[in-house]
């Protein structure tokens, strides 16, 4: 019966289901875990945006942290300067700011290929956080902006912990954005993006406006980055340049590859891995009582190793592996077509 409904309704229903499940989950979790759940949320939307750009459209961005930076500072500035705005408006504007930045970046990048694009986006990730030093009064230099968001309705204050409320807000925003992304990916835009990725010449012969498509991919993807950054600022109550390192940008791409390039589901596995790698390595370090030099660097090392292993041995990522498994479960007879779908 679900198959008869238009995809947007299916996606909305699925999102609603997820939200209900998550709200239930937050009641079972302690505040610390709720913070992690919320963190997975904003990483998820950042990685999902990158999936659209890199996975669907084939444009490699090594600088997606720059769009998170823009989103985070947008929220921070709005909260501090325009306290009258509700948080949802701040987040919306962070998304818009990310999108506008992406539009500019996309327009500059549309003619670049492979390593040239990678180099330019990497320079963006390194260069952009430096603006905080340039405008110390407005952006507070390397200390960053700190603020408090009072978004929790008066009736709920005291009844539920603030991290739980924050997790709800984050996931509501993330799921809404994912519904938009899923519809785009399923629809005409998704096909166009893939056509451009697979063969630009063929796509343009088929009437696709290649440059415009690539810019659009950048725009959507950076808007997601902006939202992710805004949510991060909302969650942590700070926006500081130290959070938007090259390592962050590389981690996002790494999460995407780890999860699986070709689908939005991959972004979920990647985001969970991003958060829980840190958690697990902390646990391991504690159990083994490792020196801080080693324990501090363990997540990064593990991350790098996983990236290399995935590229060498499992190029389809976690989602690719799951899909293969699913096909095998559903159809015990091995079939050639199942893997191509």
């Amino acid at each position: 019966m679900l198959n008869k409904l238009p995809p947007v309704v299916v996606h909305l229903l699925a999102a609603l289901g997820c939200l209900v499940l998550l709200v239930l989950l937050t009641f079972a979790a302690d505040p610390f875990t709720n913070l992690r759940i919320a963190t997975v949320g904003y990483y998820l939307i950042a990685v999902a945006g990158l999936a659209l750009l890199t996975g669907f459209n084939g444009q490699v961005s090594l600088g997606h942290g720059a769009f998170m930076f823009i989103g985070a500072y947008t929220v921070a500035l709005l909260v501090k300067r325009v306290p009258a705005f509700p948080i949802w408006a701040d987040l919306l504007l962070a998304t818009v700011a990310g999108g506008v930045a992406g539009l500019l970046a996309g327009a500059a990048a549309a003619r670049l290929r492979g390593p040239y694009l990678a180099g330019a986006t990497l320079a963006l990730a390194v260069g952009l956080p430096a603006v905080t030093q340039r405008f110390p009064e407005l952006l507070a230099g390397s200390n960053g902006l700190s603020f408090t968001v009072n978004s929790q309705p008066a009736g709920l204050v005291g009844t539920i912990p603030s991290t739980q409320w924050q997790a709800w807000i984050v996931w509501l925003a993330v799921l809404l954005a994912l519904v938009v992304l899923a519809n785009l990916a399923r629809g005409k835009l998704g096909r166009t993006l893939r056509a451009v990725r697979d063969d630009e010449v063929a796509a343009s012969l088929a009437g696709v406006h290649v440059g415009r498509t690539k810019i659009l991919a950048f725009l959507v993807s950076s808007a997601c980055g902006g939202l992710a950054g805004g949510l991060q600022a909302f969650l942590l109550g700070t926006a500081a340049p130290g959070s938007f390192t090259v390592a962050l940008s590389l981690s996002l791409l790494a999460a995407l590859v780890l999860g699986g390039l070709g689908s939005l589901w991959g972004a979920l596995w990647g985001a969970i891995a991003l958060v829980y790698f840190q958690v697990w390595t902390d646990d391991i370090a504690e159990v083994l009582s490792l020196r801080s030099d080693i324990s501090d660097n363990l997540p990064l090392a593990l991350y790098g190793v996983v990236l290399i292993v995935v590229v060498l041995a499992f190029p389809a990522g976690i989602q690719g592996g799951l899909r293969k498994l699913w096909v095998r479960v559903r159809r015990p007879v091995p079939s050639q077509r199942g893997e191509a779908s």
């Binding site: 890199t54 084939g58 490699v60 090594l62 500059a108 003619r111 670049l112 290929r113 492979g114 390593p115 040239y116 990678a118 180099g119 330019a120 990497l122 320079a123 963006l124 390194v126 260069g127 952009l128 430096a130 603006v131 030093q133 340039r134 090259v246 390592a247 590389l250 791409l253 790494a254 590859v257 390039l261 030099d293 080693i294 501090d296 660097n297 363990l298 990064l300 090392a301 991350y303 790098g304 190793v305 996983v306 990236l307 290399i308 995935v310 590229v311 060498l312 190029p315």
Partner: protein, 283 residues
């Protein structure tokens, strides 16, 4: 006027470092069509080795030599173990793999030598305007770059390396051992990269010390067209001088943004770099 002159000189020595690290990227890109994002990490490890050897023996030059040797060996190992298995993989794979290696090596450096910065000495006296250390940096890079260019242009080994890079299949048909040439290319590139690291690291070494230099080196290489060694050297020196002006006249915090602006504006006009050939060579 004096400021201008001073800034130019300062830019020359930092530009030489960008040129050298950029050159190491270009040697590899020419040979294997891979941008080696692990290059700064290879240079980092060899610089840390130099740090330890110098600390243990008291000799800067022993550390210097050890760094070049370790860098070369690392480059060869990376080509054999990581890049060669990916030679038929999609374009994104080597980017991810070398980036993974970057993360691993930076983390390993932090584990062994800690994330805290250590003092790292210059080769020569670094005080004053265009110091002996600056002069050494410029000369070392120019001599190395000239050597690399002469090797490519005038030796039979260089001819074989170029043939293996331009058309591996035809090179094989002419008796060239292409695999050996690629490995040598990675070793050579990593040696040049290690030199760049040794020049770029002082006064302090820490696991992320080369990140920014790497971005500038990549900018220099892209400006040069990614497969043009001479273009990269010119690009690196020009970028160093340009960024020195920005730092001196507008403020050092704008340097990374200025590099981005230069990169984007050059690529907007010439998507394959200033000296790059048309991209449609591989049909």
């Amino acid at each position: 006027m004096t400021t201008f002159f001073n800034l130019t000189l300062a830019g020359l020595s930092s530009g030489a470092v960008f040129a050298a690290l950029g050159l190491s990227l270009v040697i590899i890109y020419r040979a294997t069509r891979v941008v080696n994002f692990a290059q700064p990490a290879l240079a980092l490890i060899s610089s840390y080795v130099a740090y330890s050897v110098t600390k243990g023996t008291g000799s800067y030059w022993l550390g210097f030599a050890a760094a070049i040797v370790v860098g070369t060996v690392l480059g060869i190992a990376v080509e054999r173990l990581l890049v060669r298995p990916l030679r038929n993989a999609p374009e994104l794979s080597p980017i991810i793999a070398t980036m993974g290696l970057l993360l691993v090596l930076q983390a390993v450096a932090g584990m062994i030598w800690s994330n805290e910065p250590h003092a790292f000495s210059y080769a020569f006296d670094f005080r004053g305007r265009f110091s002996a250390a600056d002069l050494f940096a410029v000369l070392a890079v120019l001599v190395t770059a000239t050597g690399v260019l002469l090797l490519f242009k005038f030796t039979s080994l260089g001819l074989r390396m170029r043939a293996a890079a331009f058309n591996p299949e035809v090179a094989r048909l002419l008796g060239v051992r292409v695999g050996v040439m690629l490995t040598l290319g990675w070793g050579l590139a990593a040696a040049v990269g290690s030199l760049a690291g040794l020049l770029a690291v002082p006064p302090f070494i820490s696991p992320t010390v080369l990140d920014e230099v790497f971005v500038f080196a990549l900018t220099a290489a892209v400006l040069g067209g990614l497969d043009n060694p001479l273009g990269t050297i010119v690009g690196g020196l020009a970028l160093g001088i340009g960024l020195s002006y920005v730092a001196g006249l507008l403020g050092p915090e704008l340097v990374p943004l200025a590099a981005l602006a230069i990169l984007v504006s050059v690529l907007a006009v010439r998507p394959a770099g200033l000296f790059g050939r048309a991209t449609a060579r591989r049909v």
